[in-house]
Subunit: 264 residues, 2 copies
Amino acid sequence: MIIVADNLTITNPTIAAAMDNMDPGPIQDLVRRCEKAGAQAIDLNSGPLNRSPVAHFSFLVETVQAVTSLPLVLDTANPTALTAGLDICRNQAVINGFSLEPAKLADILPLAKNYPADIIGYLLRPNGHVPIEADELMTTAVSLFKTFISEGLAPDRLIIDPVVAPLSWDNGLQHNQALLAVLRSLPDLLGTPVRSIAGLSNLTSGGLPIQRKAALESAYLPMLAAAGLDMALVNVLHAPTMRTALSSRALLGNGIFSWAQIGL
Amino acid sequence: MIIVADNLTITNPTIAAAMDNMDPGPIQDLVRRCEKAGAQAIDLNSGPLNRSPVAHFSFLVETVQAVTSLPLVLDTANPTALTAGLDICRNQAVINGFSLEPAKLADILPLAKNYPADIIGYLLRPNGHVPIEADELMTTAVSLFKTFISEGLAPDRLIIDPVVAPLSWDNGLQHNQALLAVLRSLPDLLGTPVRSIAGLSNLTSGGLPIQRKAALESAYLPMLAAAGLDMALVNVLHAPTMRTALSSRALLGNGIFSWAQIGL
């Protein structure tokens, strides 16, 4: 399981200010800390980019790749900004992301044809809603996969995100349980091993203290890992979460266990 | 998932001394603390009981049931002691346990016919060794189950323990991964839902600091839970482990999530 840092996001006020002022220092400092903590890729969550999207997203990509050679997950809903980011990205890039929503199929999916980047596909209904039951998650995965390959794209470039739901939703618990079953059945369902990614922070969205979030995230992450999750988007600067991620990876790895694998 | 305290064991020097001296105080204090911490059953691990097994095990059962009405898991390899414990146990009792080893089939399994107690069945070869591959674990589960019902015992009285292996074994990692697959397939394999139990402390046997053990146990426990484990034998007095157990249970529960479920 590859550990992707979710730390570089404009929901962090320091990062939001640095983006606004195009000040590379705080962003590069954070990226260095994430890499040192064990991140194997960095998500660049710039938000909607209402103002000068091209200039701001290009600044962000350039700022980050100046200090790391890790793969970068280009995470914005703005297709113009995404295109600008892909134009200048020298690191391995992942487009984040498309879904069966018509606007995403029209504006985001085609970028995977024009750039040598992998792309994240969200298991969302065409109306953008999250399917709750396992059956609908599976039919959505099949539709997404068929749409993807019908564009002539190779299956190994797709990374499916089954969308972790907030537990505060009435049916969030049910969805997140179905999600585990769907992850386990994806290879059989699609007839080929397609990669998967999930963002843990959704599980406990809202302004809760990190300890409360962490207890649940640290229980759900190993479940996702054992269900076959390939990439986990986590707070790599929270030591207990990182220990859980590294321990999960070690427990599911090949060969002989060693403590060095989990940095303990 | 039912949380069983593994704390009451003679590997704890305080408990060993209290057992030797038949001093109920330290034992009852520990039991009270375990129940307060959220234990839903208590394992009474008396060790081999070489000296006065009947007197010592009877003392242990009586001492514990004087302060709790929780189910008691009677955990000794000594059949005479087990019989004495079952004779006086007023709480719900679980016999821990039998396997396909000839001595266990001869001396332990018959106790399930004579007493209204559930019984733990270990997935061990007749020679007492741990099967490593999933295939052999599954055939062992089938043999154990067939042997059990051939004695006229009802399937709902059996609790299968697939035996977590120490990661320090060359093939411990491989076994513990196979174990997850076997747990998931048990209902299909046996054609009926049979309960399961696993002891986490085996994972990191040896004199390691609790923090190092806890990181791995807290990653493996949610994997076991999501694979369908019914009962987890854990250190209920280690707060992070308990948070993981309660969070795992909440994430796999029915209905709507609430923070009260995990005591946070």
